[in-house]
């Protein structure tokens, strides 16, 4: 009997639920990424995959292998932890780069009040 066949139904149901949930969210995120038009909108779609998309697959994998190996397996959470800590860096860099480019070009993608850097209201105009 393979290890997979020994998994009882009460465990198989939550594992299946989380795998399907995680992969569906990742798929929807990818579809959104392909279909959305503006760059800034596209920043949002992959966050579905990096939050519950990863989370669902991670929980399912931890449940399944903890049962099969007979000890708590939590490696997956290290992956999740690293994803949560590192995505903001990439997304902020991309967002910032797009913003500065659009500002330099005076692009229509930005509302009027976003085309210059926000200034402190009580400050004298910048000297440089």
């Amino acid at each position: 009997m393979s290890p997979l066949q020994s998994v009882p139904l009460w465990l198989a149901i939550p594992v299946a639920f989380f795998v399907v949930l995680g992969s569906t969210l990742t798929l929807i995120g990818a579809l959104g990424f392909a279909r959305l038009q503006s760059f800034y909108d596209r920043l949002h779609a992959p966050t579905l995959a990096t939050s519950w998309g990863t989370g669902g697959v991670m929980i399912a994998s931890a449940l399944m292998f903890s049962f099969i190996e007979g000890r708590a397996i939590v490696h997956e959470f290290a992956i999740g932890f690293c994803i949560v800590l590192t995505t903001p860096i990439t997304l902020m860099m991309l967002g910032r780069a797009a913003l500065e480019r659009d500002r330099a070009e005076g692009s229509d993608a930005l509302p009027l009040d976003m085309r210059t850097r926000p200034q402190r209201p009580d400050d004298p105009p910048a000297q440089d």
Partner: protein, 161 residues
Amino acid sequence: MIRLFPHPVLSLCLIFLWLMLTRFSLGYLILGTALSLVAGWAYSALHSAKPRIRRWQTIPRLAATLVLDIIRSNAAITRLLLTEGRNGRTSAFIQIPLQITSPNALAVLAIILTATPGTAWVEYGTDTGILTLHIFDASEADHYHRIVGQTYEPMLMEIFE
């Protein structure tokens, strides 16, 4: 002691991570401890400002709020993406004045906002303290003003400042 363990929390987390990725044994514990010590020194050479956590008690409340918020916004964004083109959604930039200035608190806020689908951190001016977010659903602008200004910011202030 401080020179040996410049970042005790970081070193402990690394040892824990190391033991999590390997099987627990005395050899791995010693190896992991040695590695985390070196990592702590390297980190303190790069980053002299040590994060000061004033109130640990608020962290579980922050984590619980975040998990609920992630679930809620995952559902909302999934719905919007699936009905894209038919729901009249527009996205918007919003500007939120922040009171927190500590780099660690800002870093945690950036992680929170990125982990929550629907908000993307675009810009923060250290001179103005204004955070610019791009939100996926412009009709939720008030909700995000409220959640950043009244939920996350006070908690982060309690923890870090």
